[in-house]
Symmetry: C2
Amino acid sequence: MRQGERKTGKVTIFDIAKAAGVSYSTVSRVATNFDRVNPETRQRVLAVMQEMGYVANQHARSLVHGKSRIIGLLVHALGNQYIGEVVRGIDEELFEVGYDLMLYTTHRQRGKEAQYVSTITGGLADGLLLIVPMGQESYLDALRKVNFPHVLVDVDGVSSGSPSVGTTNRKGAYDATHYLLELNHRRIGFISDVMSLNTAVERLKGYQLALEEYGVAFDPALVQEDDFVRSEARALTDKLLALPEPPTAILASSDPAALNVMDSVREHNLEIPGDISVIGFDDTLLASIVNPKLTTVREPLYQMGKTAARMLLEQLQDIDQPPQYIQLETELVVRESCCPPR
Amino acid sequence: MRQGERKTGKVTIFDIAKAAGVSYSTVSRVATNFDRVNPETRQRVLAVMQEMGYVANQHARSLVHGKSRIIGLLVHALGNQYIGEVVRGIDEELFEVGYDLMLYTTHRQRGKEAQYVSTITGGLADGLLLIVPMGQESYLDALRKVNFPHVLVDVDGVSSGSPSVGTTNRKGAYDATHYLLELNHRRIGFISDVMSLNTAVERLKGYQLALEEYGVAFDPALVQEDDFVRSEARALTDKLLALPEPPTAILASSDPAALNVMDSVREHNLEIPGDISVIGFDDTLLASIVNPKLTTVREPLYQMGKTAARMLLEQLQDIDQPPQYIQLETELVVRESCCPPR
DNA sequence: ATGAAAGCGCTAACAT
DNA sequence: ATGTTAGCGCTTTCAT
């Protein structure tokens, strides 16, 4: 190879065949190590492959097989622990069976998804995992219509119509609220995700349920909807604290949001938990490092990832399975950010 | 299509051709919208494509072209803001020119890399971006030997032999240390990355340089090497604080590490910054949210990603370019986690 | 402007 | 056990 030259194919099955003095189908056989081939020949071919640095062209294989062993992964953004853990679970499960991951990040740009989804279903990937906060997006219909294997991560079940793995959001919010009520809080602020997310709706229900049980009237002024794209948790906290009858505790929809809440509270010269108790959601590493350590609703992120991947793998085997809606258990993790109100 | 049926190709160029009453090469022409084709015919074909939901098979295209418009992205782990920002930069740059991203996560498993790299160079991807803390890995040689387009992110320059984009690590550490010295600290702990990373070596040099300038003797006991895989920052802080002459300030190698430092310090019933000043590295979102807000050395993460992607794109155009080693400027961001020693 | 034909690198029947 | 052949879906000369 001339210095700097890099043609597409580099070493092909054909080059190996010539060098080893066999037909290229024989080479293919040892490459896939599928068929029986004379051990001696195999050794020779293997040696040549090694020497010439042969690596099979994946696109050619995909073309033949009609599948690529690639899974598309559509995420909103990387860089939060939340996603990191879920992806770790996915990755681990997929790696074992030799699947690769194609990453699609929608970042702030709404609308990218549809475009991605079409190239994905265009044969590039065999299946699709979606970790995208969403309501009823149109591309989901597309996915279902062509019966393309996919699973939704962290959406709340059946309503989506697509296979999904989520958590017990209602119970999670219920537990958190219950805990606060038990501590004797009666004014509990709730910084919720936007209500277009069914997870947010579920959590609100849990929140209200607990309130009801304690005979506390629901005050809409205490729940503020936060946008997940550009979190306003800080400003919303300000709003909550400016209420005529401000909350003595605030429940946030994620750990990062909770940190913002804490930050805002401090700027009001209020103490945590003395003046204001705070609860987060997710239990990312952060929660146990910050000061004070954050009480939060744990979601089994890693398990969600693993489960989602496994479900997708199953669909790949048998696309006609009825969609499953799996819910993993949340768990309240009590740390230091809550105490009884003054 | 029968319910549940999903063959590989779904709608092919051939189906469209038949339905539109043209040859498939004509369909190809409108699909690539490359060649001149009768506007009328084009409309008709387009209409049929739309109706039948045609999406080109990427593998077939890649096979023909010998390139895939896919870039491999090798990362150690997702889920820290650091990676998130870098990837955002990469993603943005690549999206504009229609490249896709193949994600390879090495997680804790050392050794996965080599395997990945070989499938990547096997024609799956056109180029490779590596965000992997590393010294001199053997697969880098492989990359260079076959002249495979790649760029290293966040390594310190020339020594790697591969094109790279990093930051001014030495200056960053120098600035931080200088700031602390200026504040009158003389015992400055340094929780460094392992010295097998050249970035760590550079930072140490910066640290020592500043010390020298102030005539402060370098005490090896004050620098502790932390493993990036399983951070021991907390334990190392304990060690530092247990010194006969403990530090009055600690410089950490990342923001998350700094949080762990802070946590450990608090457990010793010491105040920040009153008893111990703390400085981080990176300036992730975290830094400005925690309590107290973290003084840290900002790295232009997003820009690093963009730059790396752009460099790779340039290599793709002309593989015979000499490798570039780009350094982006760090900047000390002063917040609340430092003050003069008691 | 469009059709016919070759071929990208590989796998998998089908022969031998 | 190994070679021959026919594609996988697409792009791209080369004809017409």
